[in-house]
């Protein structure tokens, strides 16, 4: 099954006068993990922040071009970014549990604040999301404790659960492991293998081994341009562009 769920066509993005992305053309396949690698400042975070229209929330930032989600251009006027973000979830670099909320409330936040009040349905959704995020067994007896009382790795899985609770079709991960230790990182990576059965995942990472381990497709960004995009195996074993080869062999970046 190689259905394109996201496709960028000549996507450009700016921060004020500074162009952060130049004519990006690539796609994400459904139920696959796509990794985006590249040195700092290459535009990889900007790119995934365009996919759920978070980019434009930064003052002065804008984007142009076409970004298809299934068949709709998400940059068309008809699209409400608020609704779009329920279909395209996101987890950030630093774990960001809501500080005043319990573990339960953190996971329920997206549903509850969008109007779901049925207690049973909330409980079910929270349990299911925590299970999907492989956190349920660790927290099931302390759901009323504050979310910030968990360890960093648990907090990050809590954020994954919180994103999953609103039932997105795509999950964007912006360097989700860069603040975590290797064991927590391993847990998140295992999780991705499970999640891709019913989700499409895009992960930005600094860590090339991580991309090689988790991703089906990998794209390499440099200075706001997409240098190379293809099956992970091919990118890491037989890259066509010399810059990709230099980067993955550690000669720069």
């Amino acid at each position: 099954m190689d259905e394109k769920i996201i496709e960028a066509i000549d996507l450009n993005a700016w921060f004020g006068e500074k162009q952060a992305l130049q004519n990006i053309n690539m796609y994400m396949q459904k139920n696959m993990v796509t990794a985006i690698i590249g040195p700092s400042g290459c535009g990889k975070s900007t790119f995934i922040r365009c996919i759920n229209r978070m980019h434009e929330t930064i003052p002065g930032a804008k984007a142009s071009g076409t970004l298809l989600f299934k068949t709709q251009n998400i940059y068309s006027r008809k699209i409400d970014p608020v609704i779009l973000r329920r279909q395209i979830g996101m987890v950030f670099q630093k774990p960001t549990p809501f500080p005043t909320m319990s573990i339960f409330d953190n996971v329920a936040a997206g549903l509850r604040l969008n109007g779901e009040n049925n207690k049973q349905r909330l409980c079910d959704a929270v349990e299911k999301s925590l299970q999907e995020a492989a956190l349920w067994n660790e927290v099931k007896d302390m759901l009323q404790k504050p979310g910030v009382s968990l360890s960093g790795g648990q907090q990050q899985r809590l954020c994954v659960a919180r994103a999953l609770a609103v039932k997105p079709e795509i999950l964007l991960l912006d360097e989700p492991c860069s603040a975590l230790d290797p064991i927590s990182t391993g847990k998140i990576e295992e999780l991705l293998h499970e999640l891709k059965k019913h989700l499409t995942i895009v992960i930005v990472t600094h860590n090339m081994q991580q991309a090689a381990r988790v991703a089906d497709f990998t794209s390499f960004f440099l200075l706001g341009e997409l240098v190379e995009f293809g099956k992970t195996k091919k990118i890491f074993t037989a890259p066509t562009d010399t810059r990709t080869e230099q980067y993955i062999t550690g000669r720069f970046g």
Binding site: M90, T100, A109, Q155
Partner: protein
């Protein structure tokens, strides 16, 4: 040169001691007035505090006894009216300044709030007098509450702005990424995270407003009797203390001390309570 210490080293040590002593003396000088004031108020006030003081209204000249019961309730009501005006405006205004007030407009509003914080409070009293007393043709609790609201407003606005600024951007982003509309993110995530700090600011503003006399003198005026109607003159502790204090009767002067002691205790209690129970939120 003794045991390897050059002369300049010794001089530096002496300088350090002198400077340390000077700072300690300055600190002492700053807290001595506070403590002597507190002691004085306690000594003068404690003898006139009894159950009657808390349960009775003032009595006419010539009769003995009388208290400040109506004034205490009055202060509570007037400050509550002040809260009713100032909390919603202050909190929303502070939120606006923190989130959208980066441009020129924000600069001028922030400047106005700073100026307002330093305003002589009697000016707020005059303003409320013009707005309410002159139009209603009588003194009223609501005029007093409005004047106190103006006293409280800049404090609440400034604390809210500061507390909201401390909420990290990443927290807002993760709420937005859940597909929540911005106004819900602001209320249920940003304000809620900043709330304990904002509450501290509100309580300190309440403590400050409760101790104000000038804005109440010609707005809420005063009342010797119980009054719960907001469109009528109402007693307050500060104005009652003022009236007791300037009277030529010794018993009334003593009641003024007792009132001062009570008011200072309440304000001290609020401040300590806020210190103790306002825990800082840790982000992430």
């Amino acid at each position: 040169m003794e045991n390897g210490q050059p002369r300049s080293f010794k001089i530096r040590k002496i300088k350090e001691k002198v400077f340390l002593a000077a700072t300690m003396l300055a600190t002492l000088a700053a807290i001595v007035p506070l403590f002597s004031l507190l002691t004085y108020v306690v000594i003068k006030g404690i003898s006139s505090i009894n159950l009657d003081f808390f349960l009775h209204c003032p009595v006419p000249v010539g009769e003995s006894g009388g208290g400040m019961a109506n004034a205490m309730v009055g202060t509570f009501i007037i400050v509550s009216i002040g809260c009713l005006f100032s909390i919603p405006i202050g909190v929303l205004g502070g939120l606006w300044l923190a989130e959208w007030g980066k441009g020129k407009r924000g600069f001028y509003i922030r400047y106005a709030v700073d100026v307002m914080a330093g305003f002589p409070t009697i000016v707020f009293g005059i303003f409320a007098y013009m707005l309410f007393v002159l139009t209603m043709k009588r003194f009223s609790a609501i005029a007093g509450g409005f004047a106190l609201a103006l006293v409280m407003l800049p404090y609440i606005t400034k604390t809210t702005e500061e507390m909201v600024r401390m909420v990290p951007r990443s927290l807002k982003e993760s709420a937005l990424a859940l597909g929540l509309p911005e106004w819900k993110v602001m209320i249920f995530v940003v304000l809620r995270s900043a709330w304990s700090g904002i509450f501290t600011g509100i309580m300190l503003a309440v403590a400050r407003a409760a101790g104000e006399t000038a804005p109440l003198l010609f707005t809420a005026f005063n009342n010797m009797y119980w009054n719960f109607r907001l469109d009528q003159p109402m007693a307050s502790m500060t104005v009652q203390i003022y009236n007791y204090a300037i009277s030529p009767f010794e018993e009334w002067n003593n009641l003024a001390w007792a009132g001062s002691l009570t008011l200072v205790s309440i304000i001290l209690f609020i401040t300590l309570f806020v210190r103790k129970f306002s825990r800082r939120v840790t982000y992430g």
